[in-house]
Protein backbone atom coordinates (compact mmCIF):
# COMPACT_ATOMS: atom_id res chain seq x y z
CA UNK A 1 0.00 0.00 0.00
CA UNK A 2 1.19 3.54 -0.79
CA UNK A 3 2.56 5.56 2.13
CA UNK A 4 0.14 8.29 3.21
CA UNK A 5 2.86 10.92 3.05
CA UNK A 6 3.06 10.24 -0.70
CA UNK A 7 -0.64 10.89 -1.28
CA UNK A 8 -1.99 14.26 -2.40
CA UNK A 9 -4.54 16.09 -0.27
CA UNK A 10 -7.48 14.95 -2.41
CA UNK A 11 -6.56 11.29 -1.94
CA UNK A 12 -6.14 11.72 1.80
CA UNK A 13 -9.52 13.43 1.99
CA UNK A 14 -11.20 10.54 0.23
CA UNK A 15 -9.63 8.12 2.71
CA UNK A 16 -10.75 10.32 5.60
CA UNK A 17 -14.29 10.52 4.26
CA UNK A 18 -14.24 6.72 4.37
CA UNK A 19 -13.27 6.71 8.04
CA UNK A 20 -9.46 6.62 7.86
CA UNK A 21 -8.31 8.80 10.76
CA UNK A 22 -4.61 8.35 9.91
CA UNK A 23 -5.26 10.10 6.60
CA UNK A 24 -6.63 13.07 8.50
CA UNK A 25 -3.64 13.05 10.83
CA UNK A 26 -1.40 13.36 7.78
CA UNK A 27 -3.47 16.30 6.50
CA UNK A 28 -3.29 18.06 9.87
CA UNK A 29 0.46 17.54 10.17
CA UNK A 30 0.92 18.76 6.62
CA UNK A 31 -0.97 22.02 7.05
CA UNK A 32 -1.08 22.89 10.78
CA UNK A 33 1.87 25.31 10.68
CA UNK A 34 0.45 27.31 7.76
CA UNK A 35 -2.93 27.59 9.47
CA UNK A 36 -1.34 28.57 12.78
CA UNK A 37 0.98 31.16 11.18
CA UNK A 38 -1.88 32.71 9.19
CA UNK A 39 -4.03 33.01 12.31
CA UNK A 40 -1.14 34.35 14.38
CA UNK A 41 -0.24 37.08 11.91
CA UNK A 42 -3.83 38.32 11.93
CA UNK A 43 -4.63 38.23 15.66
CA UNK A 44 -1.03 38.77 16.81
CA UNK A 45 -1.44 36.61 19.88
CA UNK A 46 -0.24 33.01 20.09
CA UNK A 47 -2.93 31.78 22.48
CA UNK A 48 -5.70 33.16 20.28
CA UNK A 49 -3.95 31.75 17.23
CA UNK A 50 -3.87 28.32 18.90
CA UNK A 51 -7.61 28.50 19.60
CA UNK A 52 -8.27 29.63 16.05
CA UNK A 53 -6.24 26.79 14.61
CA UNK A 54 -8.34 24.31 16.60
CA UNK A 55 -11.59 26.02 15.58
CA UNK A 56 -10.51 25.92 11.95
CA UNK A 57 -9.83 22.19 11.95
CA UNK A 58 -12.95 21.47 13.99
CA UNK A 59 -15.04 23.31 11.43
CA UNK A 60 -13.30 21.31 8.69
CA UNK A 61 -13.95 18.01 10.53
CA UNK A 62 -17.65 18.80 10.93
CA UNK A 63 -18.02 19.85 7.30
CA UNK A 64 -16.24 16.79 5.97
CA UNK A 65 -17.82 14.22 8.27
CA UNK A 66 -21.29 15.61 7.64
CA UNK A 67 -20.72 15.14 3.91
CA UNK A 68 -20.85 18.86 3.13
CA UNK A 69 -17.33 19.26 1.77
CA UNK A 70 -17.40 20.09 -1.94
CA UNK A 71 -14.09 21.83 -2.68
CA UNK A 72 -12.53 18.94 -4.54
CA UNK A 73 -8.76 19.20 -4.83
CA UNK A 74 -8.54 22.53 -3.05
CA UNK A 75 -8.26 21.53 0.57
CA UNK A 76 -5.53 23.92 1.74
CA UNK A 77 -7.00 27.11 0.22
CA UNK A 78 -10.37 26.14 1.72
CA UNK A 79 -8.80 25.51 5.12
CA UNK A 80 -6.92 28.80 5.01
CA UNK A 81 -10.09 30.68 4.05
CA UNK A 82 -11.78 29.27 7.15
CA UNK A 83 -8.79 30.27 9.30
CA UNK A 84 -8.67 33.72 7.75
CA UNK A 85 -12.40 34.36 8.26
CA UNK A 86 -12.36 33.13 11.86
CA UNK A 87 -9.26 35.20 12.60
CA UNK A 88 -10.74 38.34 11.06
CA UNK A 89 -13.96 37.86 13.07
CA UNK A 90 -11.91 37.40 16.21
CA UNK A 91 -9.75 40.42 15.42
CA UNK A 92 -12.83 42.59 14.84
CA UNK A 93 -14.39 41.46 18.13
CA UNK A 94 -11.17 42.46 19.86
CA UNK A 95 -11.33 45.89 18.31
CA UNK A 96 -14.87 46.35 19.59
CA UNK A 97 -13.91 45.17 23.07
CA UNK A 98 -10.28 46.10 23.39
CA UNK A 99 -8.27 44.18 25.94
CA UNK A 100 -4.69 44.56 26.98
CA UNK A 101 -2.72 41.75 25.46
CA UNK A 102 0.63 41.02 27.04
CA UNK A 103 3.59 40.66 24.71
CA UNK A 104 4.00 36.94 24.01
CA UNK A 105 6.91 36.46 26.38
CA UNK A 106 8.42 33.07 27.09
CA UNK A 107 10.99 31.57 24.81
CA UNK A 108 9.39 32.21 21.44
CA UNK A 109 12.38 30.60 19.72
CA UNK A 110 10.88 27.28 20.74
CA UNK A 111 7.79 27.93 18.69
CA UNK A 112 9.55 28.60 15.40
CA UNK A 113 10.32 25.94 12.83
CA UNK A 114 13.90 25.87 11.56
CA UNK A 115 15.97 23.91 9.14
CA UNK A 116 18.92 21.86 10.32
CA UNK A 117 22.23 23.66 10.62
CA UNK A 118 25.04 24.56 12.98
CA UNK A 119 24.21 26.12 16.32
CA UNK A 120 25.35 29.51 15.04
CA UNK A 121 23.28 29.20 11.86
CA UNK A 122 20.28 28.32 13.93
CA UNK A 123 20.83 31.23 16.26
CA UNK A 124 21.03 33.71 13.38
CA UNK A 125 17.94 32.25 11.82
CA UNK A 126 16.08 32.25 15.11
CA UNK A 127 17.00 35.87 15.77
CA UNK A 128 16.00 36.86 12.25
CA UNK A 129 12.67 35.05 12.46
CA UNK A 130 11.99 36.52 15.88
CA UNK A 131 12.60 39.99 14.51
CA UNK A 132 10.60 39.32 11.35
CA UNK A 133 7.65 38.14 13.39
CA UNK A 134 7.68 41.38 15.39
CA UNK A 135 8.08 43.55 12.32
CA UNK A 136 5.22 41.88 10.43
CA UNK A 137 3.00 42.64 13.42
CA UNK A 138 3.95 46.33 13.15
CA UNK A 139 2.91 46.67 9.49
CA UNK A 140 -0.25 48.65 8.70
CA UNK A 141 -3.29 46.33 8.58
CA UNK A 142 -3.77 46.74 4.81
CA UNK A 143 -0.16 45.73 4.07
CA UNK A 144 -0.16 42.85 6.55
CA UNK A 145 -3.40 41.54 5.06
CA UNK A 146 -1.97 41.38 1.53
CA UNK A 147 1.24 39.80 2.83
CA UNK A 148 -0.71 37.05 4.64
CA UNK A 149 -2.94 36.37 1.65
CA UNK A 150 -0.02 36.16 -0.79
CA UNK A 151 2.52 34.30 1.32
CA UNK A 152 0.42 32.02 3.50
CA UNK A 153 -2.85 31.66 1.62
CA UNK A 154 -1.22 31.39 -1.81
CA UNK A 155 -3.71 33.81 -3.36
CA UNK A 156 -2.74 35.60 -6.58
CA UNK A 157 -2.69 39.40 -6.59
CA UNK A 158 -5.87 39.41 -8.67
CA UNK A 159 -7.60 37.15 -6.13
CA UNK A 160 -6.41 39.42 -3.31
CA UNK A 161 -7.70 42.48 -5.18
CA UNK A 162 -11.11 40.80 -5.62
CA UNK A 163 -11.25 39.65 -1.99
CA UNK A 164 -10.33 43.04 -0.55
CA UNK A 165 -12.31 45.06 -3.08
CA UNK A 166 -9.39 47.10 -4.43
CA UNK A 167 -7.66 47.30 -7.82
CA UNK A 168 -4.82 44.90 -8.58
CA UNK A 169 -2.42 47.85 -8.64
CA UNK A 170 -3.45 48.79 -5.11
CA UNK A 171 -2.92 45.19 -3.94
CA UNK A 172 0.50 45.12 -5.64
CA UNK A 173 1.40 48.52 -4.18
CA UNK A 174 0.50 47.36 -0.67
CA UNK A 175 2.65 44.26 -1.03
CA UNK A 176 5.54 46.31 -2.36
CA UNK A 177 5.35 48.74 0.54
CA UNK A 178 5.11 45.83 2.97
CA UNK A 179 8.37 44.41 1.58
CA UNK A 180 10.07 47.82 1.53
CA UNK A 181 8.94 48.57 5.08
CA UNK A 182 10.14 45.21 6.33
CA UNK A 183 13.49 45.67 4.66
CA UNK A 184 13.96 49.16 6.11
CA UNK A 185 13.00 47.98 9.57
CA UNK A 186 15.32 44.98 9.31
CA UNK A 187 18.17 47.30 8.39
CA UNK A 188 17.32 49.57 11.26
CA UNK A 189 17.72 46.56 13.52
CA UNK A 190 21.09 45.75 11.98
CA UNK A 191 20.04 42.87 9.71
CA UNK A 192 22.09 42.72 6.53
CA UNK A 193 20.51 39.67 4.89
CA UNK A 194 23.69 37.62 5.13
CA UNK A 195 21.58 34.49 5.57
CA UNK A 196 19.92 34.74 2.17
CA UNK A 197 22.77 34.24 -0.29
CA UNK A 198 22.18 34.87 -3.98
CA UNK A 199 21.91 32.15 -6.56
CA UNK A 200 20.28 29.45 -4.39
Amino acid sequence: MMKQSNLVDGQLLTLYMNGNEEAFEELVNRHKDRVYTTAYLIVKDRYRAEDLMQETFIKAIRTIKQGKYNEEGKFLPWLLRIAHNLAIDSFRKDKRYPTIVMEDGGNIFNSLAFAEGTFEDKQIKEDTHDLLKRLIKELPDSQREVLIMRHYMDMSFQEIADATDVSINTALGRMRYALINLRKKMHRHGRVFQDTPRGD
Binding site: F24, Q54, I61, S111, L132, L182
Partner: protein, 74 residues
Protein backbone atom coordinates in the same frame (compact mmCIF):
# COMPACT_ATOMS: atom_id res chain seq x y z
CA UNK B 1 12.01 48.66 -28.57
CA UNK B 2 12.96 48.51 -24.88
CA UNK B 3 9.97 47.90 -22.65
CA UNK B 4 9.55 50.06 -19.58
CA UNK B 5 8.52 48.19 -16.47
CA UNK B 6 6.58 49.62 -13.56
CA UNK B 7 7.34 48.87 -9.90
CA UNK B 8 4.23 46.69 -9.85
CA UNK B 9 5.51 44.68 -12.83
CA UNK B 10 8.63 44.01 -10.84
CA UNK B 11 6.54 42.66 -7.99
CA UNK B 12 4.54 40.44 -10.33
CA UNK B 13 7.84 39.12 -11.68
CA UNK B 14 9.07 38.30 -8.17
CA UNK B 15 5.89 36.40 -7.40
CA UNK B 16 5.93 34.61 -10.73
CA UNK B 17 2.77 36.27 -12.02
CA UNK B 18 4.14 37.81 -15.22
CA UNK B 19 3.27 36.19 -18.57
CA UNK B 20 6.22 34.28 -20.10
CA UNK B 21 7.15 36.91 -22.67
CA UNK B 22 7.11 39.77 -20.18
CA UNK B 23 9.04 37.63 -17.75
CA UNK B 24 11.82 37.15 -20.28
CA UNK B 25 11.85 40.88 -21.02
CA UNK B 26 12.12 41.58 -17.30
CA UNK B 27 15.12 39.24 -17.01
CA UNK B 28 16.78 41.09 -19.90
CA UNK B 29 15.98 44.44 -18.28
CA UNK B 30 17.75 43.29 -15.14
CA UNK B 31 20.84 42.39 -17.14
CA UNK B 32 21.03 45.82 -18.74
CA UNK B 33 19.62 48.09 -16.06
CA UNK B 34 21.47 48.17 -12.75
CA UNK B 35 18.64 50.01 -11.03
CA UNK B 36 16.07 47.38 -11.92
CA UNK B 37 18.47 44.63 -10.85
CA UNK B 38 19.17 46.36 -7.53
CA UNK B 39 15.51 46.86 -6.66
CA UNK B 40 14.70 43.28 -7.64
CA UNK B 41 17.43 41.96 -5.35
CA UNK B 42 16.31 44.12 -2.44
CA UNK B 43 12.71 42.97 -2.62
CA UNK B 44 13.74 39.38 -3.30
CA UNK B 45 15.80 39.29 -0.10
CA UNK B 46 12.77 40.10 2.01
CA UNK B 47 10.53 37.76 0.02
CA UNK B 48 12.94 34.89 0.65
CA UNK B 49 12.90 35.60 4.37
CA UNK B 50 9.10 35.55 4.34
CA UNK B 51 9.07 32.33 2.31
CA UNK B 52 11.06 30.66 5.08
CA UNK B 53 9.03 32.08 7.93
CA UNK B 54 6.57 29.68 9.44
CA UNK B 55 5.60 29.19 13.08
CA UNK B 56 5.33 25.75 14.58
CA UNK B 57 1.83 24.90 15.72
CA UNK B 58 1.60 23.75 19.36
CA UNK B 59 1.43 19.95 19.64
CA UNK B 60 -1.25 20.08 22.35
CA UNK B 61 -3.63 21.81 19.95
CA UNK B 62 -2.86 19.23 17.27
CA UNK B 63 -3.61 16.41 19.73
CA UNK B 64 -6.93 18.06 20.62
CA UNK B 65 -7.90 18.29 16.95
CA UNK B 66 -7.09 14.64 16.29
CA UNK B 67 -8.97 13.54 19.43
CA UNK B 68 -11.99 15.58 18.35
CA UNK B 69 -11.97 13.97 14.93
CA UNK B 70 -11.81 10.45 16.38
CA UNK B 71 -14.71 11.15 18.73
CA UNK B 72 -16.93 12.87 16.17
CA UNK B 73 -19.84 10.73 15.05
CA UNK B 74 -21.29 11.29 11.62
Amino acid sequence: MIKTFTKNDLLRYLYDELPTLEREEMINAQLTDGEVEHETEELEDVKKLLDGFVMKAPQEAVDNILAYSRSFRR
